[in-house]
């Protein structure tokens, strides 16, 4: 009979602090859970009293990896609240920058964090010797996506130029053309990535769950749209709480969420499952090559879905730049608006999944209440449910392997725990 005691404190190669606790006595699972042990940061509490103009800059600091995503969701909320209508150019630039972040985050996750698991390394650093081409590819694509964010927003981590109503800076046509040429070149890197990840021995594991994402009929949804689930539900963004149903759990600084079932999953795999038809044809081809045919129920394949999304974002970025250039890029001031007492919810599907920012402003545009629901939190219950199903299937394997597989499962979710820990506010009135 197996007796197992795994306690992986501070799971590595994830953004943020999490621990896996497993306790098995004589083949009986006593304990199996993923804890978030990170220091809570209390964003919702301390944005109260801050002016609307600061909100996107403050909340971008929730997470250094999805800074653009937080800033964009935050601006979505504020702009909705203030009734701002973005110009077409600003809308395109927001999308373009968002693509930059998706690529940036996914390349980091797939190459730096996940690939070492399959290539028998503890980190990306030894791969510089053993898989130099792959590492250089990753560095190249990471630089490209970072530069794409930078020409629009100044930098990728905590972009400076995003502001309510648009941007404080407009990229030059020459910069756009140069980055477009690099995106075109990156197609080869995308093809190579698809080949590489298609060749990896993904762990065999299936557990069907509910997949939640944003959806738009006319494009693969990242910013705005409606909230849909693979169980057939659909909600306007404003009704996000009907989906999330948060609760505090004692061993975690992250709050858990559930909807139609005990748990649901968000992120690249959820988006791919819900929005496969809106993917760029090249991305659809990549999905086929990676064996991703909706509904995909192996959570490990979330990383493969990220590769598909990279392909999509590269292609769509090339297209957006074409559109921008054919319209002609002009410096423009942020759209005008009037500050008034309002409330609104913004939502984006950031690299790790759907994200909600909900603000209430007083008549001076001072934030009086805020609620941010972060993808990693929403995945927490599902990850734990996966672990409970996976563990019995692998219990007979050596302890190191069990530990490794559990860690890989955690990593597959790409948990950005640093953001999940700033959980969330009690009910709105």
């Amino acid at each position: 009979m197996t007796t197992l005691n795994v306690n992986v404190h501070h799971v590595t190669r994830v953004e943020g602090h999490g621990s896996i606790v497993v306790d098995v006595k004589n083949g009986e699972i006593k304990e199996c859970r993923f804890e978030v042990v990170e220091a809570p940061r209390f964003f919702e509490a301390f944005v109260r009293g801050r002016p609307y103009s600061e909100l996107s800059h403050i909340t971008s600091r929730i997470c250094g990896i999805c800074a653009v995503g937080h800033a964009t969701a935050s601006l979505e909320a504020t702009e909705k609240a203030m009734g701002v209508q973005l110009t077409e150019q600003a809308t395109l630039l927001r999308k373009l920058m968002f693509h930059g972040e998706i690529i940036d985050s996914h390349i980091l996750h797939t190459y730096y964090l996940v690939a070492p698991d399959f290539l028998g390394a503890g980190s990306v650093i030894p791969l510089i010797e053993t898989h130099r081409d792959a590492v250089l590819l990753a560095l190249r694509v990471k630089k490209l996506s970072g530069d794409l964010c930078a020409i629009i927003g100044g930098r990728h981590t905590h972009p400076c130029a995003l502001t309510v109503g648009g941007f404080t800076h407009t990229p030059g046509e020459r910069e756009l053309r140069e980055i477009q040429a690099r995106l075109v070149d990156a197609r080869a890197d995308m093809d190579a990535s698809v080949d590489l990840f298609a060749s990896l021995p993904w762990p065999e594991f299936e557990r069907e769950t509910e997949y939640v994402s944003l959806h738009k009929d006319d494009e693969y949804a990242f910013i705005g749209g409606t909230v849909v689930t693979s169980d057939g539900f659909s909600y306007p963004i404003e009704d996000y709480k009907q989906v999330t149903n948060e609760e505090c759990v004692p061993f975690s600084t992250a709050k858990w969420t559930h909807h139609n079932r005990d748990a649901y999953m968000v992120g690249a795999l959820a988006r791919l499952n819900n929005n496969h038809d809106q993917l760029h044809p090249r991305a659809q081809a990549a999905a086929a090559k990676l064996g991703l045919r909706p509904i995909v129920t192996n959570p490990f394949l979330n990383s493969a879905a990220q590769v598909v999304e990279m392909v999509h974002c590269v292609e769509d970025s090339i297209r957006i730049i074409d559109e921008l250039l054919s319209r002609g890029v002009q410096p423009e001031a942020p759209a005008p608006f009037k500050v008034e007492a309002t409330e609104a919810v913004g939502s984006c599907d950031v690299p790790r999944g759907i994200l909600f920012h909900h603000y209430v402003y007083d008549e001076d545009g001072i934030c009086t209440r805020a609620n941010c629901i972060i993808p990693t939190n929403q995945n927490m219950a599902n990850l734990n449910a996966d672990m409970k199903v996976l563990l019995p299937q692998i219990l007979d394997r050596p302890q190191d392997e069990v530990r490794h597989l559990l860690e890989m499962l955690v990593r597959a979710y790409d948990p950005c725990i640093s953001c999940s820990a700033h959980c969330l506010k009690v009910e709105f009135v």
Binding site: T12, C63, R155
Partner: protein, 253 residues
């Protein structure tokens, strides 16, 4: 130092990990960093964990009792401790919570479960352990990080400027935001970021902290002339510098 390279470890406390990400990003242009130093711990990017390091880069603020123990352990091991980024250097954005009563903050977020979550006012790590150097910024500047690593290798003083952002902003020939009717904290904020925010038309928010000898009265004067109320002025300063301002107020009392 078996292979002659100094062993370097990265640690994080309450933060967004954007600074560590910036460190990872610095490899895009400075892959030779890995020839010069040996990274033995970097949770965000590697599974291996070496406890034998000489240089510790610490990201994030100290916000809990248990953080202090960890910080002391790092201090005991490392020859050189570097505060990495605004959270570690200043308390940064985390210290915004210090503007509210602690109990209120906990209850606000966790409701009746507040007692489960340990927390105290956010502090820069320099308030807990001795820090040998700091790299300011939210996030840090990639090139500045590389410069500091070189200085540590060379055994010289890390080249962190003492002058304000305006110097770099002017050298870049940006249109000053005051000329565009905006309000910028550049005149009192430490340079080194290459004036990135003003270069992108956005006001400096002071993430690198005040310069050593700022003329705050002149700043307040100018902001007041620009039509800002006292609350608005304070709000500008507190975004990243709450801890420093509160310390100063406590000193004055």
């Amino acid at each position: 130092m078996d292979n002659g390279k100094p062993k370097v470890a990265f640690f994080d406390f309450a933060c967004c990990e954007g600074c560590q990400l910036t460190v990872i990003d610095s490899l895009q242009t400075h892959l030779d960093l890995l020839d010069a130093i040996e990274i033995v711990q970097f949770r965000e990017a590697m599974s291996e964990k070496g406890e034998n390091y000489q240089i510790a880069f610490i990201e994030g603020s100290c916000t809990r009792q248990e953080d202090e123990e960890r910080l002391h352990k790092i201090r005991d091991q490392a020859d050189i401790v570097v505060a990495l980024g605004a959270c570690a250097h200043l308390g940064g954005i985390n210290a915004l919570k210090n503007l509210h009563p602690l109990e209120d903050v906990r209850k606000w977020v966790y409701g009746d479960k507040a007692a489960w979550y340990d927390t105290y006012p956010a502090r820069p790590i320099g308030a807990v352990i001795e820090v040998d150097a700091f790299i300011p910024g939210c996030p840090i500047d990639r090139e500045e990080f590389v410069r500091v690593v070189k200085a540590l290798l060379l055994g010289t003083k890390p080249p962190i400027p003492d002058y304000p952002v305006c110097v770099e902003c002017k050298l870049k020939e940006n249109v000053c935001l005051f000329d565009l009717g905006k309000i910028c904290l550049g005149p009192v904020t430490r340079a080194g970021c290459n004036a990135i925010c003003p270069s992108y038309g956005a006001a400096c928010e002071g993430c690198r902290g005040l310069i050593p000898n700022p003329n705050e009265n002149a700043m307040k004067d100018v902001l007041a002339k620009a039509g800002l109320t006292v609350e608005e002025i304070m709000s500008r300063f507190t975004m990243f510098n709450t801890y420093q301002l509160q310390e100063r107020m406590a000193e004055e009392e």
